[in-house]
Structure formats: structure tokens, C-alpha cells
């Protein structure tokens, strides 16, 4: 089970959270977006082998969303950051 660092509450068990997939996905401008752009927004998410910026919600805790870097090979967590704040650099 993952031990997830909620930036509001501190580290908690994975069972208190829900996963929100890739972070920093921005809504396209509906007035000008092409089919390809919509497809990218709706269906394409990064799927890296390594560090991944992703969203979690602490649903059985503070019930707040946050973003975090996590390594998809080791399951190690990197820095967390709150929505609409600057994304920390990809850990190495």
C-alpha cells in the first residue's frame, strides 16, 4: 500500500485517497479547439516509466485535491504541490 504525503495532513495510507490521474491538464478553448486537440485533452495522458506528476484527493481525510510527483517504477513520492501553484521540477 502506498504511503501518500497529503500536503495538508501529512503522510497517510493509500486507502484514504482516490487517484486523479495526470496533473496539469488544461481545458482547451472550445471556440477554436480542433478534433485532434479535443482528443488530446479528453484521452491522452502521459504514461511515463519514471517520474509522473499526478493528482490525488484525500477523500477520507481533509477531502482536498493536490498534485504530487511519484515514480512509477519505485512508487517513491517526490514533492507535492497545490492546484494552480507552480509545478516543482521533475525529480531526478
Amino acid at each position: 500500500m502506498l504511503h501518500i504525503p497529503c500536503p495538508y495532513c501529512g503522510p497517510r495510507d493509500e486507502t484514504e485517497f482516490h487517484y486523479g490521474a495526470g496533473a496539469n491538464i488544461f481545458y482547451p478553448d472550445p471556440a477554436i479547439a480542433t478534433d485532434e486537440e479535443w482528443s488530446k485533452f479528453v484521452f491522452i495522458r502521459e504514461n511515463p516509466k519514471g517520474w509522473h506528476a499526478e493528482r490525488w484527493v484525500h477523500s477520507a481525510g481533509c477531502r482536498r485535491w493536490f498534485n504530487v510527483w511519484r515514480n512509477t517504477i519505485t512508487h517513491e513520492f517526490g514533492p507535492t504541490y497545490k492546484p494552480f501553484t507552480e509545478q516543482p521540477k521533475r525529480p531526478v
Binding site: E14, I44, N47, I73
Partner: protein, 413 residues
């Protein structure tokens, strides 16, 4: 106690030490390179040789043959999906299974013991009824079972109405069943190698030679290899390869776990799945109970998942099958599955000419091993998709022609 055992387990026959010639150094040039030596890569190579007469093929496998999801799955085979497109490809697969052992000349323990899917709520019943009728229309064998009929086929199921998720009915596909996955891989590998296909283990593709929008070969840890055509059949690693070739695919890689119990007497001779309580169970030839559930929630390449997922599936199993209460868990493991947005595969062209992709089978591609290879081979050989895989194109995520199988795929494998 031991003398009164009623065990009916079968002894597996011995097989030879070497089934195919392991070529260690790849040739410099091939007609076709297949990336990935899992079930689908091997069946693709086999049908390229068998159906299309192309034998100058290399299957490149970064690890060992069928060490990925092919060796980790729970081998449920069925074709009772919801939509016509899925009925087409999965039923073609089931028909191929029905002759496969004779065709490739290798035992695979294909056993049509039936697959049952339980319903536990009113909405579940409605969805299952819809699926049952869709199967009927597509000429796929499908039966509707009352709880009493469930009990007749599978006496160990608890059909008491006073449990949290009572059994209210079920669909049943008698032609569904299981096979021994590694024997399937070995059978395809042997038959392909006999026709001249090179199977190269320990060969990882690390890049592509792409010029003017067209693939000319691959880069590997064993050096560059040229080819006229390349097929990516890498399951959980498909995104990594697509990114190396310069494009994105709508795939997320997630852990999917399974487990087995110790060897037990044969008590369960069909396959039972419950999407709602999240578990499915069969009993292997030797006697171990084989169980699985849903994926872990997050992206991963680690080939392991959380124990709480196992705990959840065992709680469900014990409510449905009280007889399992004291069985011991022997082993759990995980594979990395390639989840697509509509729970359907992607087989066909990529933005790069002569580079083809086969991915997105997620939690349920073992059953499709024959048809996946059949249609992929057709696509590579002719340059155009077979009518069975044409709907499963990568560009359906732009056109919007999705084939939504979440209801029929879900936890059900």
C-alpha cells in the same frame, strides 16, 4: 484423510527442454520485426508465417519469452462482449481456440468449462440482460441463469438472499473456459520457429530508425536491426515505445494482480466472475484456486500492487464461496496492463508509415491471443486492417467512434 482424497487433478505431461532454436544474435535485416514476445507478439509472428507466407521475421523480447502479462494472467477465455465490433473479434478468437491445439500441434489445456457472470442488483440484472440479448443477436452462445440454476452448475456458490450482495441471476457462456497460458505461448513460439521465425530474447528496443515519416528499423541493446515493417506488441510498455517513435497513445499502464491458493480437491469446475463484488474464480488443472479482481488505481510499471486490493477481493470471494474461508493463500503477483479509454484494444496504423501498433487489451487480452495475432498479421502483411480490427483503430479517439466495453470488460477478464 489423505487416503480418502477425491482429487481429480491431472498430471501435466513432460515437454522437451528446447522447443525452438534460440537465436542469440539477430540478423542485420528482416522483412518484419515484432517488438514483444508475449502471446500477442508470438501469435502475430505465427499468423504472418502461416497465413501470409512471411517468414523472415524477428520477435524481439527484452526479457524472456512470455514473461510479461502472458505468464501472469488468469486465462479466462470468453467472447460474450456487448458491441458488434467486439463480438466479431472475440468470437473469431474463440473459434480459433477451438482448433488451436490441433493446428499448432501443441497441447494448451484449453478447457471449455463455461464462464458465468453474476448479477447482484437490479441495475446489474438489467445490464446483464442487455448483454445476454446482444450476445444472442450476434450468435454467441449465451444462457440466462436463475440463482437456482447457478447453484446447479456451481454448487459451491452461496445463493442465500440474506447476504450483502445476493446472487440474483447470471449470464453463462458454455463455450468459455480457460487454457494454460505458458503452454499457449510455447505452442505459438515452437510453431513460428518451425516456419523460420527468429525469437530473440534479451533484446530490448531502445529507439527507432524513422526517416521521412517511415520506419526503417529499430535500435536495440544488441545493435540496430533494419526491417521493412515493424509491429509494436508491447502491452504495458506500449506508451514507452510510442513515445520513442514520437507519438502519444491513449493508454495508461496499471498494476493488475492475481493470486492462487494452495492445491485443493476439485470443487469448482467452471469460471465464475462478479463485476459488482469484484472477484472472479476458477480452479486450475492441478487444483489451485485462481482468483483476480480489478486493477490498482494508479499508473505503475512495478509489476506489483497493493495488498489491500487482494484483501478486498478475498472478502468478496468468501461471501460468494463460504467454502473457501479456510483456504490458504499461496502466492500473489502482478502484471502491468495497458488500459485504454473505452476498454477496447487498439490494432492498426500509427502516425509513422510501416509501423503498426497492437495495444490496449488491458485486463482481458489473453482470450484474444489468437485473433489479435490473426488481425495484426493481416494488417502488417497487407498494409490495411482486417475487417475485424478496422473498428479498433487508433484514430477512433479523434473521430469519436469508441467501442465502450466497460460494462462487459470491467473486472471481468
Amino acid at each position: 484423510m489423505a487416503t480418502t482424497t477425491r482429487r481429480r487433478s491431472v498430471e501435466l505431461p513432460e515437454h522437451p527442454d528446447f522447443l525452438w532454436t534460440a537465436r542469440v544474435t539477430p540478423k542485420k535485416v528482416y522483412d518484419v520485426i515484432i517488438i514483444g514476445g508475449g502471446g500477442h507478439g508470438l501469435s502475430t509472428a505465427y499468423y504472418l508465417a502461416k497465413n501470409h507466407g512471411i517468414t523472415n521475421i524477428a520477435v524481439l523480447e527484452k526479457g524472456w519469452l512470455a514473461g510479461g502479462n502472458m505468464a501472469r494472467n488468469t486465462t479466462v477465455i470468453r467472447s460474450n462482449y456487448l458491441w458488434d465490433e467486439s463480438a466479431g473479434i472475440y468470437e473469431h478468437s474463440l473459434k480459433l481456440w477451438e482448433n488451436l491445439e490441433e493446428e499448432v500441434g501443441y497441447e494448451m489445456f484449453f478447457s471449455q468449462r463455461g464462464v458465468m457472470s453474476l448479477a447482484h442488483s437490479v441495475s446489474d440484472l438489467r445490464a446483464k440482460a442487455r448483454n445476454y440479448h446482444a450476445n444472442k443477436i450476434n450468435d454467441i452462445d449465451s444462457e440466462w441463469l436463475t440463482p437456482e440454476q447457478v447453484k446447479e452448475i456451481a454448487p459451491i456458490v452461496n445463493i442465500n438472499p440474506d447476504v450483502r450482495y445476493p446472487v440474483l441471476g447470471a449470464t453463462y457462456q458454455p463455450r468459455g473456459g480457460i487454457a494454460k497460458h505458458d503452454w499457449v505461448a510455447w505452442g505459438y513460439a515452437k510453431a513460428a520457429a518451425d516456419m523460420g521465425v527468429d525469437i530473440i530474447q534479451g533484446c530490448e528496443v531502445t529507439g527507432f530508425d524513422i526517416r521521412d515519416g517511415k520506419v526503417h528499423g529499430v535500435k536495440t541493446n544488441l545493435g540496430p536491426i533494419a526491417a521493412q515493417k515493424v509491429g509494436m506488441v508491447a502491452a504495458g510498455h506500449s506508451s514507452v515505445l510510442a513515445n520513442l517513435a514520437g507519438f502519444d497513445i491513449p493508454i495508461q499502464s496499471r498494476p493488475l494482480q492475481a493470486l492462487v491458493s494452495e492445491l485443493l480437491e476439485q470443487v469448482h469446475n467452471t469460471v465464475i466472475m462478479s463485476g459488482m463484488v469484484h472477484v472472479y474464480v476458477s480452479q486450475a488443472h492441478k487444483g489451485e484456486l485462481v482468483m483476480g479482481a480489478g486493477t490498482d488505481a494508479f499508473n505503475s510499471y512495478a509489476q506489483r500492487g497493493g495488498f489491500h486490493v487482494i484483501e478486498h477481493q478475498l472478502a468478496a470471494a468468501i461471501e460468494l464461496f463460504p467454502i473457501f474461508e479456510r483456504a490458504h493463500l499461496l502466492r500473489t503477483w502482478g502484471g502491468i496492463v495497458d488500459i485504454s479509454p473505452d476498454a477496447s484494444p487498439i490494432i492498426g496504423h500509427t502516425p509513422v508509415d510501416n509501423l503498426f501498433i497492437n495495444t490496449g487489451w488491458g485486463t482481458g487480452g489473453f482470450k484474444a491471443t489468437p485473433a489479435s495475432g490473426w488481425t495484426m498479421a493481416h494488417t502488417i502483411a497487407t498494409g490495411e486492417p482486417h475487417e475485424l480490427n478496422a473498428p479498433f483503430s487508433l484514430d477512433r479517439f479523434i473521430t469519436g467512434h469508441l467501442i465502450d466495453e466497460h460494462g462487459a470488460a470491467g473486472v471481468a477478464h
